[in-house]
Protein backbone atom coordinates (compact mmCIF):
# COMPACT_ATOMS: atom_id res chain seq x y z
CA UNK A 1 0.00 0.00 0.00
CA UNK A 2 1.24 3.47 -0.87
CA UNK A 3 2.51 5.68 1.91
CA UNK A 4 0.22 8.38 3.24
CA UNK A 5 0.89 11.58 1.29
CA UNK A 6 0.57 14.88 3.16
CA UNK A 7 0.39 18.12 1.20
CA UNK A 8 1.16 21.20 3.25
CA UNK A 9 4.00 23.16 4.82
CA UNK A 10 5.26 21.81 8.15
CA UNK A 11 4.86 25.20 9.85
CA UNK A 12 1.11 25.37 9.22
CA UNK A 13 -1.13 25.24 12.29
CA UNK A 14 -3.42 22.70 10.67
CA UNK A 15 -0.73 20.57 9.01
CA UNK A 16 0.97 20.20 12.40
CA UNK A 17 -2.12 18.49 13.82
CA UNK A 18 -1.77 15.79 11.16
CA UNK A 19 2.01 15.45 11.65
CA UNK A 20 1.47 15.13 15.39
CA UNK A 21 -1.11 12.34 15.11
CA UNK A 22 1.03 10.48 12.54
CA UNK A 23 3.95 10.68 14.93
CA UNK A 24 1.84 9.45 17.88
CA UNK A 25 0.55 6.51 15.84
CA UNK A 26 3.79 5.69 14.03
CA UNK A 27 2.22 6.30 10.61
CA UNK A 28 4.74 6.50 7.80
CA UNK A 29 4.19 9.36 5.36
CA UNK A 30 5.70 11.59 2.74
CA UNK A 31 5.13 15.35 2.90
CA UNK A 32 5.29 18.06 0.28
CA UNK A 33 5.60 21.78 1.01
CA UNK A 34 2.59 23.71 -0.20
CA UNK A 35 1.11 26.96 1.04
CA UNK A 36 2.46 30.26 2.34
CA UNK A 37 6.14 30.67 1.44
CA UNK A 38 6.12 27.61 -0.83
CA UNK A 39 4.21 26.60 -3.95
CA UNK A 40 0.85 28.36 -3.73
CA UNK A 41 -2.25 26.25 -3.13
CA UNK A 42 -3.92 28.12 -5.99
CA UNK A 43 -1.71 26.13 -8.44
CA UNK A 44 -3.72 23.95 -10.77
CA UNK A 45 -1.92 20.85 -9.47
CA UNK A 46 -3.05 21.51 -5.89
CA UNK A 47 -6.54 22.69 -6.82
CA UNK A 48 -7.10 19.42 -8.70
CA UNK A 49 -6.41 17.59 -5.46
CA UNK A 50 -8.18 19.98 -3.10
CA UNK A 51 -10.47 22.49 -4.81
CA UNK A 52 -10.93 24.28 -1.48
CA UNK A 53 -7.32 25.42 -1.84
CA UNK A 54 -6.25 24.93 1.78
CA UNK A 55 -3.56 22.85 3.49
CA UNK A 56 -3.43 20.17 4.67
CA UNK A 57 -4.67 17.79 2.02
CA UNK A 58 -3.93 14.14 2.62
CA UNK A 59 -4.07 11.32 0.13
CA UNK A 60 -4.61 7.88 1.59
CA UNK A 61 -5.08 4.96 -0.72
CA UNK A 62 -6.36 7.19 -3.50
CA UNK A 63 -8.81 9.03 -1.25
CA UNK A 64 -8.25 12.75 -0.82
CA UNK A 65 -8.95 14.01 2.67
CA UNK A 66 -9.06 17.56 3.88
CA UNK A 67 -9.97 19.50 7.05
CA UNK A 68 -7.33 18.72 9.64
CA UNK A 69 -9.66 17.62 12.45
CA UNK A 70 -11.46 15.24 10.10
CA UNK A 71 -8.09 13.87 8.96
CA UNK A 72 -7.00 13.33 12.58
CA UNK A 73 -10.22 11.44 13.35
CA UNK A 74 -9.94 9.43 10.15
CA UNK A 75 -6.35 8.35 10.85
CA UNK A 76 -7.12 7.47 14.47
CA UNK A 77 -10.10 5.34 13.34
CA UNK A 78 -8.23 3.70 10.53
CA UNK A 79 -5.33 2.74 12.78
CA UNK A 80 -7.74 1.56 15.47
CA UNK A 81 -6.29 3.91 18.06
CA UNK A 82 -9.26 3.46 20.37
CA UNK A 83 -7.27 4.79 23.32
CA UNK A 84 -6.95 8.12 21.48
CA UNK A 85 -10.39 8.10 19.89
CA UNK A 86 -12.82 6.04 21.97
CA UNK A 87 -15.41 3.99 20.14
CA UNK A 88 -18.00 4.42 22.89
CA UNK A 89 -20.60 6.84 21.52
CA UNK A 90 -20.69 9.14 24.54
CA UNK A 91 -16.93 9.33 24.99
CA UNK A 92 -16.45 9.88 21.29
CA UNK A 93 -18.96 12.74 21.24
CA UNK A 94 -17.09 14.44 24.10
CA UNK A 95 -13.82 14.20 22.19
CA UNK A 96 -15.42 15.68 19.07
CA UNK A 97 -17.06 18.45 21.05
CA UNK A 98 -13.66 19.81 22.09
CA UNK A 99 -12.24 19.42 18.60
CA UNK A 100 -15.13 21.50 17.22
CA UNK A 101 -14.60 24.08 19.94
CA UNK A 102 -10.95 24.50 18.97
CA UNK A 103 -11.91 24.66 15.31
CA UNK A 104 -14.48 27.41 15.46
CA UNK A 105 -14.42 29.47 18.62
CA UNK A 106 -10.68 29.81 18.94
CA UNK A 107 -9.93 30.02 15.23
CA UNK A 108 -12.19 33.05 14.91
CA UNK A 109 -10.42 34.82 17.78
CA UNK A 110 -6.98 33.87 16.49
CA UNK A 111 -7.67 35.57 13.15
CA UNK A 112 -7.59 38.93 14.93
CA UNK A 113 -5.18 38.06 17.74
CA UNK A 114 -2.62 36.19 15.62
CA UNK A 115 -3.08 36.90 11.89
CA UNK A 116 -3.89 40.56 12.56
CA UNK A 117 -2.08 41.35 15.81
CA UNK A 118 1.08 39.38 15.15
CA UNK A 119 1.43 38.85 11.39
CA UNK A 120 -0.20 42.16 10.44
CA UNK A 121 -2.20 40.39 7.76
CA UNK A 122 -5.13 42.23 6.15
CA UNK A 123 -8.05 42.37 6.72
CA UNK A 124 -7.42 40.96 10.21
CA UNK A 125 -5.00 43.76 11.10
CA UNK A 126 -8.00 46.09 11.22
CA UNK A 127 -7.90 47.21 14.90
CA UNK A 128 -11.51 46.09 15.27
CA UNK A 129 -10.49 42.48 14.60
CA UNK A 130 -7.27 42.66 16.62
CA UNK A 131 -8.96 44.02 19.70
CA UNK A 132 -11.96 41.72 19.47
CA UNK A 133 -9.72 38.70 18.78
CA UNK A 134 -7.45 39.34 21.76
CA UNK A 135 -10.35 39.85 24.12
CA UNK A 136 -12.10 36.75 22.85
CA UNK A 137 -9.11 34.38 22.87
CA UNK A 138 -8.28 35.44 26.43
CA UNK A 139 -11.84 34.61 27.42
CA UNK A 140 -11.78 31.24 25.64
CA UNK A 141 -8.44 30.13 27.04
CA UNK A 142 -9.82 31.24 30.41
CA UNK A 143 -12.76 28.88 29.93
CA UNK A 144 -10.33 26.10 29.06
CA UNK A 145 -8.39 26.90 32.23
CA UNK A 146 -11.51 26.53 34.36
CA UNK A 147 -12.39 23.29 32.62
CA UNK A 148 -8.91 21.77 32.99
CA UNK A 149 -8.77 22.74 36.67
CA UNK A 150 -12.12 21.08 37.30
CA UNK A 151 -12.03 18.10 34.95
CA UNK A 152 -8.43 17.64 33.71
CA UNK A 153 -5.63 16.79 33.51
CA UNK A 154 -6.48 16.31 29.82
CA UNK A 155 -9.32 17.90 27.92
CA UNK A 156 -11.65 14.93 28.19
CA UNK A 157 -10.39 13.80 31.60
CA UNK A 158 -7.83 11.25 32.74
CA UNK A 159 -6.31 10.28 29.42
CA UNK A 160 -4.74 11.99 26.43
CA UNK A 161 -7.04 11.76 23.38
CA UNK A 162 -7.15 13.32 19.92
CA UNK A 163 -9.19 16.16 21.47
CA UNK A 164 -5.89 17.35 22.92
CA UNK A 165 -4.40 17.69 19.44
CA UNK A 166 -6.21 20.80 18.15
CA UNK A 167 -6.30 22.23 21.67
CA UNK A 168 -2.56 21.60 22.03
CA UNK A 169 -2.01 23.74 18.93
CA UNK A 170 -4.21 26.51 20.33
CA UNK A 171 -2.39 26.47 23.66
CA UNK A 172 1.03 26.64 22.02
CA UNK A 173 -0.10 29.59 19.93
CA UNK A 174 -1.62 31.24 23.00
CA UNK A 175 1.76 31.29 24.74
CA UNK A 176 3.32 32.86 21.64
CA UNK A 177 0.82 35.74 21.30
CA UNK A 178 2.30 39.21 21.64
CA UNK A 179 0.04 41.00 24.07
CA UNK A 180 -0.31 41.10 27.81
CA UNK A 181 -2.15 37.92 28.62
CA UNK A 182 -3.88 36.81 31.80
CA UNK A 183 -2.09 34.03 33.70
CA UNK A 184 -3.90 30.71 33.56
CA UNK A 185 -2.22 28.14 35.83
CA UNK A 186 -4.18 25.07 34.69
CA UNK A 187 -3.44 25.87 31.05
CA UNK A 188 0.24 26.41 31.85
CA UNK A 189 0.39 23.02 33.63
CA UNK A 190 -1.40 21.41 30.70
CA UNK A 191 1.15 22.92 28.29
CA UNK A 192 3.96 21.32 30.31
CA UNK A 193 2.06 18.02 30.45
CA UNK A 194 1.74 17.96 26.66
CA UNK A 195 5.41 18.86 26.40
CA UNK A 196 6.34 15.49 27.89
CA UNK A 197 5.22 13.97 24.58
CA UNK A 198 8.10 13.90 22.09
CA UNK A 199 5.70 14.23 19.14
CA UNK A 200 4.34 17.47 20.61
CA UNK A 201 7.83 18.88 20.97
CA UNK A 202 8.73 17.89 17.41
CA UNK A 203 5.71 19.28 15.61
CA UNK A 204 4.05 21.83 17.88
CA UNK A 205 6.20 23.28 20.64
CA UNK A 206 9.07 23.63 18.24
CA UNK A 207 9.58 27.38 18.32
CA UNK A 208 6.73 28.16 15.93
CA UNK A 209 3.54 29.94 17.01
Amino acid sequence: MAKLRILGRANSFNVRKVLWVCDELGIDYTREDWGRGFRPTSDAEFMRINPIGLVPAVIDDGQVLRESNTIVRYLASKHKADHLYPTDLLQRASVEQWMDWANYETSISLRGAFLGGMLNEPPWNNPWFVEQGRRQIAKEVGQLDGHLAAAGPYVTGEAFTIADIPIGLVVNRWFCLNFEKPVYPAVAAYYERLSTRPAYMRHVRNGLP
Binding site: I52, Q63, Y74, Q97, W98, Y104, N126
Partner: protein, 207 residues
Protein backbone atom coordinates in the same frame (compact mmCIF):
# COMPACT_ATOMS: atom_id res chain seq x y z
CA UNK B 1 -35.92 12.24 27.19
CA UNK B 2 -33.62 14.46 25.15
CA UNK B 3 -33.61 18.06 26.29
CA UNK B 4 -32.26 20.87 24.14
CA UNK B 5 -31.18 24.15 25.70
CA UNK B 6 -31.09 27.03 23.23
CA UNK B 7 -33.20 29.70 21.55
CA UNK B 8 -34.89 28.81 18.26
CA UNK B 9 -33.27 31.66 16.30
CA UNK B 10 -29.68 30.55 17.02
CA UNK B 11 -28.09 29.10 13.90
CA UNK B 12 -26.35 26.43 15.94
CA UNK B 13 -29.53 25.41 17.73
CA UNK B 14 -31.16 25.18 14.29
CA UNK B 15 -28.70 22.47 13.18
CA UNK B 16 -29.74 20.34 16.14
CA UNK B 17 -33.46 21.00 15.71
CA UNK B 18 -33.23 20.18 12.01
CA UNK B 19 -32.00 16.64 12.65
CA UNK B 20 -34.46 16.22 15.52
CA UNK B 21 -37.26 17.25 13.13
CA UNK B 22 -36.08 15.05 10.25
CA UNK B 23 -35.56 11.93 12.34
CA UNK B 24 -38.50 12.72 14.64
CA UNK B 25 -36.65 12.37 17.93
CA UNK B 26 -38.79 12.89 21.06
CA UNK B 27 -37.47 15.97 22.88
CA UNK B 28 -38.21 19.13 24.79
CA UNK B 29 -36.51 22.49 24.19
CA UNK B 30 -35.95 25.36 26.60
CA UNK B 31 -35.24 28.91 25.37
CA UNK B 32 -31.77 29.90 26.57
CA UNK B 33 -29.33 32.51 25.29
CA UNK B 34 -29.80 35.91 23.62
CA UNK B 35 -32.79 37.76 25.04
CA UNK B 36 -33.57 34.76 27.28
CA UNK B 37 -30.20 34.90 29.07
CA UNK B 38 -29.47 32.07 31.55
CA UNK B 39 -26.21 30.97 29.86
CA UNK B 40 -24.15 32.64 32.62
CA UNK B 41 -26.13 31.06 35.44
CA UNK B 42 -24.31 28.42 37.50
CA UNK B 43 -26.50 25.50 36.47
CA UNK B 44 -25.84 26.26 32.80
CA UNK B 45 -22.11 26.96 33.11
CA UNK B 46 -21.79 23.67 34.93
CA UNK B 47 -23.11 21.93 31.79
CA UNK B 48 -21.38 24.17 29.28
CA UNK B 49 -18.39 26.20 30.47
CA UNK B 50 -18.46 28.22 27.24
CA UNK B 51 -21.87 29.72 28.05
CA UNK B 52 -23.12 29.37 24.51
CA UNK B 53 -26.05 27.50 22.98
CA UNK B 54 -26.97 24.78 22.23
CA UNK B 55 -26.34 22.26 24.98
CA UNK B 56 -28.18 18.95 25.13
CA UNK B 57 -28.92 16.71 28.08
CA UNK B 58 -29.78 13.23 26.83
CA UNK B 59 -30.84 11.29 29.90
CA UNK B 60 -27.91 12.65 31.88
CA UNK B 61 -25.37 12.82 29.05
CA UNK B 62 -24.46 16.46 28.50
CA UNK B 63 -23.00 17.62 25.21
CA UNK B 64 -22.37 20.96 23.48
CA UNK B 65 -20.94 22.02 20.09
CA UNK B 66 -23.71 21.72 17.54
CA UNK B 67 -21.81 19.69 14.91
CA UNK B 68 -20.82 17.11 17.52
CA UNK B 69 -24.42 17.00 18.75
CA UNK B 70 -25.65 16.42 15.19
CA UNK B 71 -23.20 13.53 14.73
CA UNK B 72 -24.11 12.08 18.13
CA UNK B 73 -27.85 12.16 17.43
CA UNK B 74 -27.31 10.68 13.96
CA UNK B 75 -25.14 7.88 15.37
CA UNK B 76 -27.70 7.14 18.05
CA UNK B 77 -30.87 7.35 15.97
CA UNK B 78 -29.93 6.87 12.31
CA UNK B 79 -26.57 5.16 12.02
CA UNK B 80 -25.75 4.15 8.48
CA UNK B 81 -28.31 6.62 7.17
CA UNK B 82 -27.56 10.23 8.01
CA UNK B 83 -24.18 9.23 9.44
CA UNK B 84 -22.22 7.03 7.04
CA UNK B 85 -20.46 4.16 8.82
CA UNK B 86 -17.83 3.44 6.17
CA UNK B 87 -14.69 5.29 7.21
CA UNK B 88 -14.01 7.23 4.01
CA UNK B 89 -17.66 8.14 3.49
CA UNK B 90 -17.80 9.36 7.06
CA UNK B 91 -14.69 11.50 6.57
CA UNK B 92 -16.26 12.95 3.43
CA UNK B 93 -19.31 14.11 5.41
CA UNK B 94 -17.23 15.31 8.34
CA UNK B 95 -14.90 17.44 6.24
CA UNK B 96 -17.88 19.50 5.10
CA UNK B 97 -19.02 19.89 8.69
CA UNK B 98 -15.52 21.10 9.61
CA UNK B 99 -15.43 23.33 6.53
CA UNK B 100 -18.38 25.15 7.98
CA UNK B 101 -16.48 25.71 11.23
CA UNK B 102 -13.23 26.77 9.60
CA UNK B 103 -14.27 28.49 6.38
CA UNK B 104 -17.91 29.38 5.75
CA UNK B 105 -18.99 30.03 9.35
CA UNK B 106 -16.18 32.45 10.19
CA UNK B 107 -16.60 34.12 6.78
CA UNK B 108 -20.31 34.80 7.21
CA UNK B 109 -20.24 35.82 10.82
CA UNK B 110 -19.68 39.56 10.48
CA UNK B 111 -22.10 40.21 7.61
CA UNK B 112 -24.85 38.62 9.68
CA UNK B 113 -23.98 40.28 12.99
CA UNK B 114 -23.41 43.58 11.24
CA UNK B 115 -26.66 43.70 9.31
CA UNK B 116 -29.01 41.84 11.63
CA UNK B 117 -27.79 42.31 15.18
CA UNK B 118 -26.06 45.72 15.07
CA UNK B 119 -27.90 49.08 14.92
CA UNK B 120 -27.12 50.99 11.67
CA UNK B 121 -25.09 53.74 13.39
CA UNK B 122 -22.71 51.17 14.90
CA UNK B 123 -22.07 49.17 11.72
CA UNK B 124 -18.57 48.89 10.28
CA UNK B 125 -19.37 48.64 6.58
CA UNK B 126 -15.81 47.63 5.64
CA UNK B 127 -15.95 44.63 7.98
CA UNK B 128 -19.41 43.73 6.66
CA UNK B 129 -18.29 43.94 3.04
CA UNK B 130 -15.14 41.84 3.69
CA UNK B 131 -17.35 39.22 5.24
CA UNK B 132 -19.83 39.28 2.34
CA UNK B 133 -17.01 38.87 -0.21
CA UNK B 134 -15.37 36.01 1.70
CA UNK B 135 -18.72 34.24 2.09
CA UNK B 136 -19.48 34.61 -1.62
CA UNK B 137 -16.06 33.13 -2.46
CA UNK B 138 -16.61 30.15 -0.14
CA UNK B 139 -20.10 29.53 -1.53
CA UNK B 140 -18.76 29.73 -5.08
CA UNK B 141 -16.40 26.85 -4.23
CA UNK B 142 -19.32 24.92 -2.82
CA UNK B 143 -21.32 25.62 -5.97
CA UNK B 144 -18.54 24.16 -8.12
CA UNK B 145 -18.25 21.13 -5.87
CA UNK B 146 -21.99 20.50 -6.21
CA UNK B 147 -21.73 20.02 -9.98
CA UNK B 148 -23.21 16.58 -10.61
CA UNK B 149 -24.13 16.06 -6.95
CA UNK B 150 -27.56 16.32 -5.31
CA UNK B 151 -26.11 16.76 -1.84
CA UNK B 152 -22.68 17.70 -0.56
CA UNK B 153 -21.43 14.11 -0.36
CA UNK B 154 -23.25 12.88 -3.47
CA UNK B 155 -26.67 11.40 -4.04
CA UNK B 156 -27.99 11.20 -0.51
CA UNK B 157 -28.57 13.60 2.34
CA UNK B 158 -26.14 13.17 5.27
CA UNK B 159 -25.00 15.02 8.38
CA UNK B 160 -22.50 16.74 6.07
CA UNK B 161 -25.35 18.85 4.67
CA UNK B 162 -26.72 20.14 7.95
CA UNK B 163 -24.16 22.73 9.11
CA UNK B 164 -23.68 24.27 5.69
CA UNK B 165 -27.44 24.05 5.09
CA UNK B 166 -28.33 26.42 7.91
CA UNK B 167 -25.74 28.89 6.63
CA UNK B 168 -26.98 28.66 3.03
CA UNK B 169 -30.48 29.40 4.32
CA UNK B 170 -29.16 32.43 6.21
CA UNK B 171 -27.22 33.68 3.17
CA UNK B 172 -30.39 33.84 1.07
CA UNK B 173 -32.25 35.73 3.78
CA UNK B 174 -29.65 38.47 4.24
CA UNK B 175 -30.36 41.84 2.56
CA UNK B 176 -27.22 41.72 0.39
CA UNK B 177 -25.96 41.34 -3.16
CA UNK B 178 -25.28 37.72 -4.11
CA UNK B 179 -23.58 36.04 -7.06
CA UNK B 180 -25.67 33.54 -9.05
CA UNK B 181 -25.00 30.08 -7.62
CA UNK B 182 -27.34 27.69 -9.42
CA UNK B 183 -26.19 24.51 -7.68
CA UNK B 184 -26.39 26.03 -4.22
CA UNK B 185 -29.89 27.29 -5.02
CA UNK B 186 -30.95 23.80 -6.10
CA UNK B 187 -29.47 22.39 -2.89
CA UNK B 188 -31.48 24.89 -0.85
CA UNK B 189 -34.66 23.90 -2.72
CA UNK B 190 -33.95 20.25 -1.79
CA UNK B 191 -33.45 21.16 1.86
CA UNK B 192 -36.80 22.95 1.83
CA UNK B 193 -38.49 19.59 1.22
CA UNK B 194 -37.25 18.28 4.57
CA UNK B 195 -39.58 18.56 7.58
CA UNK B 196 -36.91 19.53 10.10
CA UNK B 197 -35.49 22.23 7.86
CA UNK B 198 -38.92 23.63 7.03
CA UNK B 199 -39.99 24.02 10.63
CA UNK B 200 -36.79 24.77 12.50
CA UNK B 201 -34.57 26.54 9.97
CA UNK B 202 -36.41 28.11 7.04
CA UNK B 203 -39.48 28.81 9.16
CA UNK B 204 -37.59 31.00 11.65
CA UNK B 205 -37.03 34.65 10.69
CA UNK B 206 -33.52 36.15 10.96
CA UNK B 207 -33.19 37.97 14.26
Amino acid sequence: MLKVYGRANSINVQKVMWIIGDVDIPHTREDVGGQFGKTKEDWYVKMNPNSVVPTIDDDGFVLWESNSIVRYLAAKHDKGGLLPTELKARADAERWMDWLLTVLGPAMRDVFWGLVRTPPEKRDMKVIEDSRTKSAAALTLLDKHLNGRDYVTGSSFTVGDIPLGVYVCRWYKLPIERPALPNVEKLLARFKQRPGFKTHVDGIPLT
